[in-house]
């Protein structure tokens, strides 16, 4: 399969079942909602060491938020409900509670087959040292926690669902600037898709990994088959003209969300075409044995054609 001269490999991205939740953060203006969201989703690129993978899904207009203020929606993904619950609590406590003027609300209430309620301010409320106040309207419970700038208002729980993490594709290009330009184009297109985040810095990861290492203590190490500087010495996946490879990792609330994001991302990268040095699109997998979800590149792009 070739799109605009770019070869689409006959391979698949291997993804895993994860737990996900969404939090709506509002503030006096978008700037302060973004500050809170940026802090909350900081150091959350990969579950390997960060606990969660998190990112800003999109900005919310005042008409879309529960309290009618500007906001930001944040998605968090983890490998287990226990980890997600813990990470949500610590990140809420250190990044949102602390941020001036913010309030936080549940972002998942309906529309998914299995929704588990997990604490948003249920435990955070104790920061109020007995001065916290519960209020219930329209079937939802909120906590008012007195803080130095006024009151921190937060819904008691948010919804957690089964989701998918680790959807990905690789962009193989003739030079590093060209690979990055294609990634930027892909990310710009993918950011418009709801229900997904690209958790790595700027949405792009350059240190793709393989399972295992020559060092016994390490469970993963550099994906030497895709490292351009090792082309001549390892069992490479790269043809001579490839000089740089970058990966985009996608976490989504459903497999269909990931497929859609992959489709628009790959499409945007391919639009730059061979004239901009984009040569191949591939994907990362572990032979298909580890992940429950397989996203076949040609199938996904075939559906777009």
């Amino acid at each position: 399969m070739i799109i605009n001269g770019v070869q689409i490999d006959d391979t698949f991205a291997e993804a895993f079942g994860m737990r996900a939740t969404r939090v709506l953060i509002t503030a006096q203006n978008h700037q302060w909602a973004r500050h809170a969201a940026a802090a909350m989703t900081g150091f959350a690129t990969s579950v390997i060491a960060c606990g969660v993978e998190a990112g800003i899904e999109r900005e919310l207009n005042p008409s879309e938020t529960p309290d009618g203020r500007p906001g930001v929606s944040v998605l968090l993904f983890a490998m287990s409900s226990a980890v997600l619950t813990k990470q949500l609590e610590t990140r809420m406590g250190q990044c949102v509670l602390t941020c001036p003027t913010t309030a936080a609300f549940s972002g998942i209430d309906a529309g998914y087959p299995e929704i588990t309620r997990i604490p948003l301010s249920k435990n955070l409320r104790f920061f109020g040292d007995g001065f916290q106040i519960s209020k219930q309207f329209a079937g939802k419970r909120y906590w008012r926690v007195p803080v130095m700038d006024g009151e921190f208002l937060c819904e008691e729980t948010t919804g957690m669902i089964r989701a998918v993490g680790g959807g990905n594709f690789l962009i193989l290009a003739e030079s590093q600037p060209q690979a990055l330009a294609a990634c930027e184009a892909a990310i710009e297109a993918m950011r418009k898709i709801p229900n997904v985040i690209m958790p790595f810095p700027g949405g792009v990861v350059r240190s793709g990994s393989k399972v295992g290492s020559k060092y016994k203590a390490l469970i993963a190490s550099t994906n030497d088959a895709f490292c351009p500087t090792l082309k001549g010495i390892t069992k490479t996946e790269l043809s001579p003209e490839i000089e740089s490879v970058m990966e985009i990792v996608i976490d989504g609330l459903t497999a269909d969300d990931i497929k859609q994001a992959m489709r628009v991302g790959i499409q945007a990268a391919c639009e730059l075409g061979t004239q901009n040095g984009i040569r191949r699109i591939s994907a990362g997998n572990y032979g298909g044995k580890l992940g429950q979800f397989h996203f076949k590149l040609r199938e996904i792009m075939g559906a777009a054609a």
Binding site: P66, D67, I133, K135, F137, Y142, L153
Partner: protein, 270 residues
């Protein structure tokens, strides 16, 4: 199906009648003969419903009580769903222990309305007596959930020992408003009587005018409280004047410090 309508007969006994059995849950699945045979406590005797009321219609989820007077007690007691409409006055204990559904009184109601209520909506298009949403003697908690709208005035002790839920009074409230309140939200558009928030532990009393307050209420200053925006947004569409309010700037008083002092009296300011 038309509403199941109970019209109080003119020759009904002068004693008070306990209407607790006439709820959608209790009457569901009953034939009109069975409904007519439901026994109601009246004074110290039990009377068949069809002896006291003319009964028409069949929809047990939509019950109407016509020609009602202030002697009909326990209307909607423990009801869990459906609708009850009272045309005329209701007696005491309307919506006592109500758990769900909608109860509307197109008239006045007497004491202990919404006592022990845990869910649903009670609307009183008129005045209500003392102890609205309060606990009956021997109980430690009054209203425990749900929504009460009163378009007229409320008597003394509104919200006494109220534990949860929302009470919206469009008129005035009497003395001891929100006394011994445990939690929940009580809002009064008009004036309140003496001893407001007496013994209040927690909860919110929302007022439009600054009342005379005990020294055991402490002024905490003027604030813009975000939860008020959220609350009034939740009220939009409700059949009350409170649905049109969009204000979140208040003066906050906390008390009663003679009794824990975590309650708040919020008074709208501009």
């Amino acid at each position: 199906m038309s509403a199941l309508t109970f019209t109080l007969k003119h020759d009904a006994p002068a004693q008070r009648i306990d209407l607790a059995p006439l709820t959608p849950d209790h009457l569901a699945g009953k034939s009109s003969a069975e409904i007519g045979a439901v026994e109601l406590l009246c004074g110290n005797r039990r009377w068949r419903a069809d002896r006291l009321f003319d009964i028409a219609g069949s929809d047990t989820d939509d019950i109407v009580i016509d020609n009602a007077n202030g002697k009909l007690d326990f209307i909607g007691r423990g009801m869990q769903r459906g609708r009850i409409t009272v045309n005329g006055d209701a007696g005491s204990y309307v919506a006592f222990g109500m758990r769900g559904g909608t109860l509307t009184v197109n008239g006045n109601a007497d004491a202990f309305a919404a006592s022990g209520m845990t869910g649903g909506t009670l609307k009183i298009d008129g005045n209500v007596g003392d102890f609205l949403a309060a606990a009956i003697p021997g109980e430690r908690k009054g209203m425990k959930g749900g929504l009460v709208i009163v378009t007229g005035n409320a008597g003394d002790r509104a919200g006494d020992q109220m534990r949860r839920g929302i009470v919206l009074i469009e008129g005035n409230a009497g003395a001891y408003c929100a006394s011994r309140m445990l939690a929940g939200t009580l809002a009064v558009m008009g004036s309140v009587g003496d001893y407001v928030g007496y013994g209040m532990r927690r909860g919110t009393l929302l007022l439009f005018k600054t009342p005379a307050m005990h020294a055991t209420f402490q002024d905490c200053g003027s604030h813009t409280l975000p939860f008020l925006s959220l609350m009034f947004k939740a009220f939009k569409g409700l059949p009350t004047k409170f649905a049109d309010i969009d204000q979140n700037r208040v003066r906050r008083y906390m008390g009663d410090i003679a009794n824990d002092g975590k309650g708040e009296v919020l008074v709208f300011i501009t």
